[in-house]
Amino acid sequence: MSVPSRAKPVFYDSAELSNPAIEELREVWNYRNLIYQLTRRDILSRYKRSILGVAWTMLNPLGMMLVLTIAFSELFRFQTEYSYAGYVLSGLMVWNFFSQTTTASMVNLVWGGGLLHRIYVPRTSFALAAMLTGVVNFILSLVPLLLVFLITRVPFSPTILIFPIPLLLLVCFSLGVGLLISTLAVYFPDVSEMYSIAMLGWMYLTPVIYPESVLPQNYQFWITHLNPMYYMVKLFRIVVYYGDLPSLMELLPAVLIALVTLAIGWTVFTKKAGEFAYRI
């Protein structure tokens, strides 16, 4: 038998796809360099022509925080345990991660989808790269967060160091949602428009810019415990802002939500991915 000329024999059989979800995992590993390169492209190209460059990743949430702090802590006089600025910035980081990465997964697939007609790449690459870009941005914006903590005298606690756990759960949840709405957006382009509105509504239903305590007692349960993002925001705040370790009842729902959403999103997306090139 002739020996294949390259080290890695590549073999494709259209009939052999018993489990697309598992198959996709293997392909993602083979194409890990692509995901790295896409992430690099997203980060570099976004700020390429601006003078301050990547510094915008940090300035952006800071500016948002400043506006919100002036608007809400002065106007509405929200009471938070430590500074309102620290409260709102820590919440915004989580929310922005979620809204930006899920939107990017969808947009990259639908608009960058011309690529899918020309060449095979694992379809989840776009969403994975969006997550990785989000993680880089998230970690960069820890710098202004800590700065705000320092200035507004939010006490530092060593529990800040376990921020990767809430972040990881956030990534899983966002990836699951991102894959689900990407699948929908392939079939119904309107979804991308609806999504930005839905995100705005969802943000106001989540205690991101206001403290939980302002919610009327009779809605409080519905807005908090039935809202997946409530757990994600809360978990990050517990370790970073409040300086506590999460209790089991705070951690467990977040873990469950993240993993179940990811499993559903991954399965649905990979099952439908074979049809995408017919649609985009």
Partner: protein, 257 residues
């Protein structure tokens, strides 16, 4: 994917085998752009689909280091066939097996980003073809040299002329040394001297171990380059075999039509 059993099903020399492949495109006969429209129609049981066969029971195989031509009129299913081989589409029925890495030269510089430098784009494009960073490190100099973009390699792509852009795209695809190269009407890149260089490179490929799929409306090119060819018409195979014979049959059919 790398199941040894199936791998051995193909003859040692066979790199592509297409068996009874059909591709059916289904589209709603109306375009639904919104959920609302769709939901209303669905409730009324009025979502109607029309479908057509882009490929109909197509079978053939391609051997290692062969230049294989694909001919046919527009709409014959040539592009669909290439997409199947490039793994972009999955067949509705039938089976496609491909051994080796496929590099499609479908549209040059696909996925290039104008704000990134030539260097960054070369690495990105290589990654899209499934190459690791270290593999690209090794290929990089050859790619730059072939593309003749010179010092521009570190300038953003938006500063390139369209010719430079296309040359860089071609150089990446051809210099990544794929096992199977898909050439879809691409020999119109750059000036004449660059075209000559491309043809030389393709000939070099053919003499090596690579397989080339050539799609063209230029029959003399098919005759001169290809050993075998397939002729498609409305998704059906009209003939497979020696390229000269197939071209002769195709021409005869064109005249009588």
């Amino acid at each position: 994917m790398m199941d040894a059993m199936n791998n051995q099903d193909l003859h040692d020399d066979e790199v592509i085998r297409i068996e009874n492949v059909s591709v059916k495109f289904t589209a709603p006969s109306e375009q639904f752009n919104t959920f609302k429209e769709y939901a209303i129609r669905w409730l009324q049981h009025k979502v109607q689909h029309c479908s057509f066969l882009a490929l109909d029971q197509v079978s053939f195989s391609v051997n290692r280091s062969e230049v294989f031509g694909i001919i046919g009129n527009n709409g014959a299913g040539k592009s669909t066939l290439l997409k199947l081989i490039a793994r972009v589409l999955r067949p509705t029925s039938g089976r496609v097996r491909v051994r080796g890495r496929v590099a499609p030269l479908l549209e040059l510089g696909a996925g290039f980003h104008p704000e990134l430098s030539g260097r960054e784009n070369v690495y990105l494009n290589g990654a899209m073809l499934g190459f690791s960073r270290s593999e690209m490190d090794r290929k990089f100099n050859g790619i730059v040299e072939f593309s003749e973009v010179g010092d521009f390699i570190d300038a953003p792509l938006r500063t390139y002329s369209s010719g430079m852009w296309a040359r860089l795209g071609f150089s990446v695809a051809i210099d990544v040394d794929p096992d199977i190269l898909i050439l879809d009407e691409i020999l119109s890149v750059g000036d004449e001297s660059f075209q000559r260089k491309c043809l030389d490179r393709i000939a070099q490929f053919r003499d090596g171990d690579a397989t080339i799929l050539l799609v063209s409306h230029n029959m003399s090119l098919i005759e001169s380059m290809c050993k075998r060819a397939v002729w498609l018409d409305h998704g059906k195979v009209m003939g497979v075999g020696d390229a000269r014979d197939i071209v002769k049959e195709y021409r005869k059919a064109q005249k009588s039509a």
